[in-house]
């Protein structure tokens, strides 16, 4: 093995002319621009950047597979001295897995759905079952128990561990990790990062980890490369970067990352509870929601596929507050929102609006005024906005015939009102004619919020609205939400898996676990004196990943 594990020499990757023409670009577009980098063997390198920064493309360049529609326009990328782009397919394949291994992210289903764990290993190891068990053991999984399972029978964390074990199977000198922890719960993230660091320490391979999350990079890397729009804007040791980032973008990234205990600008306006007499706008008492899996067919009742998503939950949402709801996946936080807005029927207990209206009423049987009062914004704006519609059509309640019955003051929702609405969510008025498909992720989410606000709601339900966004974009959207709250005093329920994000804007926080309420308290109270050990652990994990 050479002393240099990975190398880039004036390496550029462009969109092939044909695809570029499709996208309407005049000049050839570069995904990676003129990158030069030397990574000595044994380095633990972190590459951080937001979506579109080219970090994943760079990672794939080192296995010689940058994907359809892209081509190397200049320079070379060397992996253990080989240029994988110039090797014959068979020779390249020889190096994959043994010299360099790529560990894909688990969220996107990187395990073949119809092959069992054992079958995956058999492909790279032959029938060496001892080795398989050993590898699964190394990544902290019980091999005997899991080897016969399929991807859908594994949790996200388990899938990620299996993918890492598969990567390590043939003892590679270089391990490339692509977003190894995205979409995993905070506790799982912590365990997996620890496991990765230990494996690297034991085996001494060169580690490259790509993430959008600085705190992840912080945990596994001692050298950090920051990418922005296809360029390397910073290359420094971890300590150096944390202490004084040389590039303004890095500083921006560091500042935008939500840090536990640091309130968002504008969040400390005195809690809502100080300002108004606490009057509940929504009151849930012993609320239970059993969700049956919609996948059972043929009308057969299937008790096994039903789960109690919300379990005897008693919680009040006070008028004018921002209530943060946190919990890991499966804690019932989204179910709670969907129940309040009538998309899911409660199966036990009561849930009521301030005036006594029964919120168990499904959405299609709620009176118009009730529909207007409660608006929901969903996690992924790509799914909730029609990309073919203009922003005007998306946010104008009178543009949809089914909505025109809301009538009244909303009929006057002409341009001025719509521009005002865009202004409220921090978008330029010119955006009005833009198609949904032409918006960035952050812009889409702002449009989704504007659409909810157009109804002049009294309660805004926000379901992981910043989870799909980059940190700097997330910071902007959070600031916008606070601004809206200050101006319109709209009550908000903000659901997230990220306690740091929730704590940065919420007046009170409710912690959910397995459908039950762990505790609910004023934000600062909870952060300084959590009453439940579970909350304490969440806070501690969040502290550890951000304040290291």
């Amino acid at each position: 093995m050479t002393d240099i594990a990975l190398q880039l020499d004036r390496f550029s990757v462009g969109v092939s002319p044909f695809d570029a023409a499709h996208l309407g670009a005049v000049e050839p577009q570069l995904i990676l621009r003129d990158l030069s980098l030397v990574v000595p063997a044994g380095t633990r390198l972190g590459i951080v950047g937001e979506s579109g920064s080219g970090k994943s493309t760079l990672l794939r360049a080192w296995i010689g597979a940058i994907g359809h529609g892209l081509f190397v326009s200049n320079g070379t990328a060397l992996t253990a001295g080989h240029n994988l782009f110039s090797l014959a397919d068979d020779d390249r394949r020889q190096l994959l897995g043994s010299t360099v291994a790529m560990v894909p992210q688990s969220v996107a289903m990187s395990l073949t759905p119809h092959l069992s764990v054992a079958q995956h290993f058999a492909e790279v190891l032959g029938q060496d079952t001892d080795r398989t068990s050993q590898l699964l053991d190394e990544v902290g999984l019980n091999g005997a128990q899991l080897r016969r399972r399929f991807a859908h029978e594994l949790s996200g964390g388990q899938q990620q561990r299996v993918l890492i074990a598969l990567g390590l199977a043939r003892d590679p000198h270089i391990v490339l990790l692509d977003e190894p922890t995205s979409a995993l719960d905070v506790g799982v993230v912590h365990d997996i990062l620890t496991m990765i660091a230990e494996a690297q320490h034991r085996r001494g391979f060169t580690l490259v980890c790509v993430s959008h999350d600085l705190s992840v990079i912080d945990r596994v890397a001692d050298r950090v490369v920051v990418m922005q729009r296809g360029e390397i804007v910073e290359d420094a040791s971890r300590e150096q970067m944390n202490r004084r980032p040389s590039h303004s973008y890095t500083a921006e990234l560091l500042a935008a990352a939500p840090t536990l205990g640091i309130r968002h600008v504008g969040a400390d306006r005195g809690t809502a509870i100080d300002r108004v007499v606490p009057a509940p706008i929504v009151r849930a008492e012993a609320l239970s929601v059993v969700r049956s899996s919609s996948r059972h067919r043929l009308g057969r009742a299937n008790a096994a596929s039903a789960t109690t998503a919300v379990d005897t939950l008693t919680l009040e949402v006070f008028s004018g507050e921002i209530l943060g709801v946190i919990g890991e996946s499966g804690s019932g936080k989204s179910t709670l929102l969907k129940t309040i807005c009538g998309l899911l029927p409660p199966t036990g207990g009561t849930v009521q609006w301030a005036d006594g209206f029964d919120l168990a009423t499904p959405v299609e049987r709620r009176p118009i005024d009730m529909l207007r009062r409660i608006q929901m914004v969903f996690q992924n704006p790509d799914d909730s906005l029609n990309p073919a519609h203009s922003v005007r059509r998306l946010i104008d309640p009178t543009a949809r015939r089914s909505w025109s019955r809301f009538g009244g003051g909303l009929k006057a929702a002409h341009d001025e009102t719509l521009r005002e609405l865009l202004n409220t969510v921090g978008l330029a008025p010119e955006m009005l004619e833009r198609r949904g498909a032409k918006l960035s992720g952050g812009e889409k989410q702002r449009v989704a919020i504007a659409r909810a606000l157009a109804m002049k709601p009294e309660l805004l339900l926000l379901d992981e609205v910043t989870s799909a966004l980059d940190v700097t974009v997330q910071a902007g959207v959070l600031a916008t939400l606070l601004d809206i709250h200050r101006r319109l005093a709209t009550t908000m329920v903000f659901v997230s898996h990220d306690i740091a994000v929730v704590a940065s804007i919420a007046d009170r926080i409710a912690v959910l676990r397995n459908g039950r309420l762990v505790e609910v308290d004023v934000t600062n109270e909870m952060l300084s004196r959590p009453r439940d050990p579970y909350t304490a652990r969440l806070i501690e994990l969040a502290r550890r990943t951000t304040a290291d």
Partner: protein, 317 residues
């Protein structure tokens, strides 16, 4: 899986029962009956009454429905007044011919369609692949009688290799029928091939974009293995569904081809039966079509499930 199959079978039987009653009532609702069709212009009130009396058409609808259904359970499909034969005797030899035709066409079309579909997906964008794509599109859109006529010209007239028109009766032995099968079978195979091939190709291309395929390739797994173990099992359900529908069509929708080649299959007799108002025969043939479609969707569901562990698990629970 067994429990699933049993449940599915029960539902199929239910569908069959309900549908057969509906079909019976549907035929009943049409104006005229077998006697008006049989007598045609020579029908007088007395003759009609005589005919109806002789054939039991005067009984109430519900009575005749029960009569017919109990016959069905005993394997008696009724009697064709027009043809003076029991329906079973008319249908069976033709059913055999149709099955032979469908089998030959299926064997020619389906395996080849899967192979060519994968092949052309793997060579997407090359000139050969685009040529295959264009040809299949033409085959798909061309009416069968055109394809049939072209083949007929080619192989029966210009190159007299195969008989162009079937001259043997429907009762002839399979060996006698066999030379007459090729041309209609090739015609059908071409149409069916195009559908299945394109579905295989499209499904392969979509599956190939999925992350687990990229992940498998990144592990250095041989391309042959990636295609066979990772892509194909995930890509097959779509073409399998197309195969199920087209296989059913091969047994029930081949009227045009049968007419062109004068092939003694079920398609022709079905059309004749309708124009003759041959109630018993119409019912039998409709029910046969029903069975074919129910069975094919049953088989394709079962195979699709067997390919997907998620479905298997769900069924086991």
């Amino acid at each position: 899986m067994t429990a699933y199959l049993l449940r599915r079978l029960a539902i199929s039987l239910g569908v069959f029962t309900v549908m057969s009653v509906l079909v019976f009532l549907g035929v009943e609702a049409l104006p005229g009956d077998a006697c008006t069709a049989l007598l045609g212009r020579s029908a007088t009130a007395t003759k009609l009454a005589q005919c109806r009396g002789a054939n039991g058409l005067n009984a109430s609808v519900s009575h005749r429905l029960i009569d017919w259904a109990s016959g069905l359970l005993r394997g008696d499909l009724g009697f064709s007044i027009k043809r003076g034969k029991s329906v079973v005797d008319i249908v069976l030899p033709r059913l055999r011919n149709s099955l032979a035709l469908a089998t030959v066409a299926s064997l020619m079309a389906f395996p080849l369609a899967i192979v060519v579909g994968v092949w052309s997906a793997r060579r997407k964008g090359t000139r050969v692949a685009r040529a295959v794509d264009t040809v299949s599109l033409v085959l798909m859109t061309m009416p069968e009688f055109v394809t049939a006529s072209v083949l007929w010209l080619l192989f029966a007239v210009w190159l007299p290799l195969l008989p162009g028109v079937t001259m043997v009766s429907s009762n002839a032995s399979l060996l006698e029928i066999l030379p007459n099968i090729w041309l209609p079978a090739i015609t059908l195979a071409l149409v069916v091939f195009a559908h299945v091939m394109r579905s295989m190709r499209a499904s392969f291309l979509v599956t190939e974009e999925r992350p687990f395929v990229e992940a498998a390739r990144a592990r250095g797994i041989a391309e042959r293995v990636v295609v066979r173990r990772h892509i194909l099992p995930a890509a097959l359900p779509a073409p399998i569904n197309v195969i199920a529908v087209t296989a059913a069509w091969l047994l029930t929708g081949t009227f045009v081809v049968e007419v062109v080649f004068n092939f003694p299959g079920l398609g022709r007799i079905a059309v004749d039966a309708i124009s003759d108002r041959d109630t018993a025969l119409i019912l039998a043939l409709t029910l046969f079509g029903l069975v074919v479609f129910i069975a094919s969707s049953f088989v394709s569901d079962a195979v699709t499930r067997a390919l997907d562990p998620r479905m298997r698990a769900q069924v086991a629970s």
